[in-house]
């Protein structure tokens, strides 16, 4: 007896491959999800261990707490005539309170697991040393307070760089070898200098030598009360840092995309399209941009995720109240919850993006699906 299905004159059902694909996709998604979660878990735990130098920070903190308490007590006239022994006993009590508050009396291994468990469940908790600018000790408040400033500045700059670079690169790829193309290639090494480096020169030039723009800050102090005036002030304060970031990365970005597009434009199917006499615009859209879309989207999304970390030195140079300087302060204070808070959100965002991209690729690119199916 032969199997019934083989006798079906209509051939195999089209639902079968779809179901199979769906099953493969689901399996693929679960595998990716588990792998990403494991990556986040390991990454966050490593951050906890590194931020605490494997627990050695406890020792540093104890010394620091003790020194601060001693100096506070010494400087306070209330303790002026207290005998040394009593004063030392009092110092011990105060140190004890702080040790208890920071849970330094618990082994680091126990605390690290607690940090990890809370981080993975996105319970960011309270900072140990820091406050938000408004005075809240909740890590969530501390981070969200700085987020808009970071998104605004780095979002503007990166979007500007991204779209300018992509469109300029497309144009240059069409005019390969032109004077403009050669100029951009020649200027590409200028991106070796970071944004803050250009920032210093721009400040010197446009804030000090020719005081046209503010040297730093986010808005005029005190901030203007009208919305339009506030926006104008904000834009004015953004011009220099955005320009610094723009100059530091635009040429190398154009160069990179241009090379990318050139590679794509020399593919056989593009040559074939040209041979068929299709218009340059059509070739550009259908034969170059479309297959290059996946890397462009990936790059774009990773750029968006990268906004989360801000830029420490650039923010310092421009006195910009962003996440970069926040993380810098947190490292300086060894405020583990804030460091973990920043890292875990970044890790989750990155994982979610990678996951979304994986699924997107799996849906769009048959090779990914098949590969997933074979597993």
């Amino acid at each position: 007896m032969k199997p019934e299905a083989s006798t079906d004159p209509r051939g195999p059902s089209p639902r079968r491959p779809r179901l199979r694909d769906l099953r493969h996709l689901l399996l693929f998604a679960i595998q990716r999800l588990v792998a990403l979660l494991a990556t986040v878990l390991v990454g966050v735990y490593l951050t906890i261990v590194v931020a605490n130098m494997g627990g050695q920070v406890d020792e540093l903190r104890l010394v620091q707490i003790r020194s601060e308490v001693v100096e506070t007590v010494r400087a306070d006239p209330a303790f002026f005539d207290m005998p040394g022994e009593e004063r030392n006993a009092l110092v011990e009590r105060q140190v004890g309170l702080e040790v208890e508050r920071l849970r330094l009396d618990q082994p680091f291994a126990v605390r690290s697991l607690d940090y990890l468990q809370r981080a993975m469940s996105l319970d960011l908790g309270r900072a140990e040393q820091m406050h938000s600018d408004r005075g809240s000790r909740e890590v969530r408040d501390i981070i969200t307070e700085r987020l808009p400033a970071t998104l605004l500045l780095f979002g503007s700059a990166n979007l500007l760089v991204f779209f300018t670079a992509v469109f300029a690169a497309l144009r240059l790829s069409r005019h390969y070898g032109s004077a403009l193309d050669r100029t951009v290639i020649a200027l590409a090494p200028s991106s070796a200098a970071p944004g803050w480096f250009y920032g210093i020169f721009l400040i010197l030039l446009l804030a000090f030598l020719f005081p046209l723009l503010p040297a730093g800050g986010m808005v005029t102090a005190p901030p203007p009360e009208g919305r339009l005036a506030y926006a104008a002030s904000l834009v004015r304060h953004m011009l220099l840092p955005v320009a610094a970031m723009f100059f530091s990365s635009i040429f190398v970005s154009i160069y990179a995309w241009r090379t990318f597009f050139l590679i794509h434009s020399s593919e056989d199917y593009v040559e074939m399209a040209r041979a068929k006499g299709l218009s340059a615009r059509r070739i550009e859209r259908r034969y170059i941009l479309r297959p290059a879309l996946a890397p462009i989207i990936t790059s774009f999304l990773l750029m968006l995720i990268g906004l989360w970390s801000g830029a420490i030195i650039l923010e310092q140079v421009f006195n910009w109240p962003g996440l970069g300087s926040l993380l810098f302060q947190a490292i300086g204070h060894r405020d583990t919850p804030v460091i973990i808070g920043g890292v875990v959100i970044f890790a989750y965002l990155l994982a979610a993006t990678v996951f979304a991209l994986d699924i997107l690729y799996a849906l769009l690119d048959p090779r990914v699906r098949i590969k997933g199916g074979r597993r």
Binding site: L60, V63, Q64, R66, S67, E71, R74, A75, P77, A78, F79, F80, D81, M82, P83, G84, E85, N88, L90, V91, E92, R93, Q94, E98, R101, R126, H131, S132, D133, R134, G135, S136, R137, D141, E145, L204, A207, F208, P211, L213, A215, G216, G217, M218, V219, T220, A221, P222, P223, P224, E225, G226, L228, A232, V235, R236, Q316, V317, N319, P321
Partner: protein, 846 residues
């Protein structure tokens, strides 16, 4: 299509440029300082209140931009101390910028005293006091101050700050010790050679060996500042002496793990380039010996390794307890302790560092001698433009709103404190140059101390009397019954009677209760009473306001507190009893005089903490997982607004019974209504009574705005006399060669030296000078004479050395050292002149 894209891009660019160049509503004036106009200070006399209309505080962390920002006119003052010679030189070179210098950071070498044989069997030379002492001769402090610190430091030899009063009071002794321990590398080498020999080490081919191994010294060098260069300099000196030196470059944290946290006997370090900061002028440094040289200083292993001589230890302990019966006895003890400290030399003091506070050339402010601008209590009363009255000033700070602001246990950050100081009006204000307190809201004070208690009075706004015994009156409040909400009086707590070592009777200004808080409500006695209740409540375990973090301070206070009472409210007179003594009567009044806090804002905090929504202190907030009370920003504000509404409607408030007597009819309603209107207008609850009110807070943008408080009616020029540091400037003149006769020679062989004491070119008033004394050293550096200079008037002083004194010098090069101490500034001034004495039969060249 392409054209459209280009068009849109051009439009976008044009829009950005237009918006960027759109004139902002209230852009601060970017005016470079004007140097050609000087405002007439006497014209300020009829003016009242603050000298500026608005002060904007901005976060600015980059010190490298300070001069540029001042020159561009965007900032007029920076509060942070600048210790970088490069930045200071830029300031010096700028015509539009100026600066004030402050002391406060002392640099020293901390030596490991353990051993001499350490746990690893190696030799620690610094276990021997003689070798530690020799380092004083080895190091050229002048080189350290002028070269390594680029002139931003002054040499320091003793465990007393050269800018604080004790140094000036002991100037003569200090000068003699400084000369005894002046740079003398040969003497250092000899002493170290002798000491190393005593320890059993031997020198071979220029290197020290102990039990066949090189003597290795581990030098912890701090890397963040000029101490890196100091460490290298010291390492080179020690290598030249034959030691193998291991340079360990460390940051503060890395170094602290070694020098504080490890047992010195383990030998992980031998020397450490330390530094100590003081941001207020310490008028009494008697406990420095105990702190820096004995195991009583701190509990850490390093301090426990200190082995002072029994004589030094006993003296240091007595000084830390202030165990002396008279001022003269104290000074003698201090002088002896200084000499013993130098022999001990567990620490080798190097320099007192100078920090510059940058300002525009047309700005004037009273900067504290120790704390600079940020530590100055007088800055709100003296900050002004020299070329105009009023205006807006932009002040740069390295950080602001570091922690939540509340007046009970809020932010302790120096720069937050600087801002809040302008909104408050203390009862007394410390002199920025002497640390002595001046009255601000006090008309006068009477201080009574027990017989035999050494207390010195300098200023005339208070009197000091002595009594055999000071009894605490029966009706004085000494405690607080948190359960029943009532005061406990002295007779209830101590039916057998109670005495105290001091009584301070403070007579506040007659118009005190006519003054107003920023929200318009007048001050009342309840503003003095509620903070006191709160203090006791926070230390009471049965109270919902109990805060373990408050206990230490409170218990220290209870050790000496013996009661207080309000004698009258029109005017307000308060009497306080205590056992705590400060050497200055002014400091006793400052420590004892109660200060008011607006009871209505305090009440909101109390309600918030009782309901478990907010907490005054950081520690309690963390323990209970609630918000640390901030009166100016953040999640506390909606809670406070809700509490204000409820407080206004409530029939009863906490401590009603105790406060009832001190509230005027209708005061409660007036207060809450005023606070509500204030919150409505400015969006916060920070209410003070100082010359400036908090106008706006922009936490994320990093700015705070203060505006002139129109209700502050003090004369505008009241504190301007203290705007500049009255440091005496000396010019010593005299013969370079003197004929020294025999002891019985005629007086014609005497020599006369002239000293000009001036300040900004004008003669220094004689009545402001405490002492102008001289020390005479012969060619061997031995003290050959001392005495007082004679005033000649107009800032001129004369030192007359008679023939007998000159004859005692013999032939050779001598040194005359003048020490001038002022009543108006703690910093003494010194001048020296080297002159030669030749036999009387030789011709004196002209």
């Amino acid at each position: 299509m392409r054209g459209m894209g280009l068009g849109i891009s051009a439009l976008l660019l044009a829009a950005v440029v237009a918006v960027a160049l759109w004139p902002a509503g209230e852009e601060p004036a970017r005016e470079p300082p004007r140097l050609d106009v000087e405002f007439d200070v006497p014209a300020l006399a009829p003016q009242s209140g603050a000298l500026l209309d608005e002060i904007v505080f901005l976060r600015e962390t980059d010190l490298g931009r300070v001069t540029g920002l001042i020159e561009a006119g965007s900032h007029q003052l920076f509060s942070q101390g600048i210790s970088s010679p490069t930045v200071v030189n830029r300031l010096r070179d700028s015509v539009q910028a100026d600066m004030d210098l402050a002391f406060g950071t002392a640099s020293e070498l901390t030596l490991n005293p353990a051993g001499p044989i350490l746990a690893d069997g190696s030799l620690n030379p610094f276990a021997l006091p003689a070798i530690r002492e020799a380092l004083n001769w080895l190091i050229d402090r002048r080189h350290v101050a002028e070269e390594l610190y680029g002139g931003l430091a002054v040499p320091r030899t003793l465990p007393l700050s050269t800018a604080f009063p004790d140094y000036a009071r002991l100037a003569e002794v200090a000068r003699a010790l400084e000369l005894r321990y002046a740079h003398d590398p040969e003497r250092a080498r000899t002493a170290i050679d002798a000491g190393m020999g005593e320890l059993g080490a031997e020198r071979r081919e220029g290197h020290w060996f102990f039990e066949g191994k090189p003597v290795r010294l581990r030098l912890l060098i701090r890397t963040e500042d000029e101490r890196r260069r100091v460490g290298d300099y010291l390492a080179n000196l020690l290598q030249d002496l034959g030691f193998a030196v291991e340079r360990r470059y460390r940051t503060a944290e890395e170094a602290s793990r070694l020098w504080i946290a490890t047992d010195p006997a383990a030998g992980q370090w031998h020397l450490y380039t330390g530094a100590w900061i003081s941001i207020v002028i310490q008028r009494d440094q008697a406990d420095n010996f105990s702190f820096y040289y004995t195991p009583r200083g701190r509990a850490e292993p390093l301090w426990q390794a200190y082995r002072p001589t029994p004589e030094f230890d006993a003296l240091a302990e007595r000084l830390s307890r202030r165990d002396y019966r008279s001022w003269e006895e104290r000074q003698a003890m201090m002088a002896e302790a200084l000499a013993l400290a130098m022999e001990d030399s567990s620490r080798v003091w190097l320099v007192d560092q100078l920090n510059a506070s940058a300002r525009a050339a047309n700005v004037e402010v009273a900067a504290d001698l120790a704390g600079g601008v940020s530590g100055s209590a007088l800055w709100p009363y003296t900050l002004r433009y020299t070329d105009r009255l009023g205006g807006r000033m932009v002040v740069g700070l390295p950080g602001l709103l570091g922690e939540p602001w509340n007046p009970v246990a809020g932010s302790n950050w120096a720069f937050d404190r600087m801002i809040t100081r302008a909104t408050q009006d203390p009862m007394v204000l410390p002199d920025p140059y002497t640390g002595l307190y001046h009255p601000q809201r006090i008309a006068r004070a009477e201080v009574t101390v027990e017989q035999g208690v050494p207390v010195e009075q300098t200023l005339d706004w208070l009197t000091v009397t002595r009594e055999e015994s000071i009894a605490v009156p029966a009706d004085a409040w000494i405690d607080w019954d948190a359960l029943h909400g009532r005061f406990i009086t002295a007779d209830q707590a101590h039916p057998e009677g109670l005495t105290a070592r001091t009584r301070v009777r403070v007579h506040y200004d007659a118009d005190l209760f006519e003054r107003r808080w920023h929200d318009g409500s007048p001050l009342s006695p309840a503003d003095f009473v509620l903070p006191w209740i709160l203090d006791f409540e926070r230390a009471n375990e049965s109270s919902p306001l109990f805060d373990p973090a408050h206990l230490a301070t409170f218990e220290a206070f209870r050790r000496h507190f013996r009661g207080w009472r309000i004698l009258s409210t029109e005017p307000l007179v308060i009497e306080i009893y205590s056992d705590q003594i400060f050497p200055d009567a002014e400091s006793i009044v400052a420590a004892r005089a109660p200060s008011p806090l607006p009871w209505h804002t305090l009440m909101l905090g109390i309600l918030g903490e009782r309901r478990g929504e907010l907490a005054f202190s950081s520690n309690k907030a963390d323990r209970h997982g609630v918000d640390w009370l901030s009166l100016v920003a953040g999640p506390s504000l909606p809670a406070l607004a809700r509490l204000l509404e409820q407080a206004g409607e409530a029939d009863a408030l906490p401590y009603d019974q105790a406060l009832a007597e001190w509230l005027t009819p209708g005061e409660r309603e007036v207060r809450f209504a005023a606070l509500g209107a204030w919150h409505e207008a400015f969006g916060h609850f920070w209410v003070g009574s100082g010359p400036y009110r908090l106008h706006a807070v922009h936490p994320v943008a990093g700015s705070v705005v203060l505006r002139r408080f129109e209700g502050f009616r003090d004369p505008a020029d009241r504190w301007l006399g203290l705007s500049t540091a009255p440091i005496p400037e000396l010019v010593l003149d005299g013969p370079l060669v003197v004929a020294a006769g025999e002891a019985a020679a005629p007086t014609a062989l005497a020599a006369e030296f002239r000293l000009a004491v001036t300040m900004e070119g004008a003669p220094y008033p004689e009545e402001d000078l405490r002492e102008v004394s001289y020390l005479l050293f012969d060619g061997d550096g031995a003290l050959a004479g001392r005495g007082e200079a004679e005033p000649l008037g107009e800032g001129e002083w004369r030192v007359h050395l008679d023939a007998e004194t000159l004859a005692g010098l013999g032939s050779g090069a001598n040194s005359l050292e003048l020490a001038v101490t002022s009543r108006r500034v703690a910093l003494p001034a010194f001048a020296s002149l080297v002159f030669a004495t030749v036999p009387s039969n030789e011709e004196v060249p002209r």
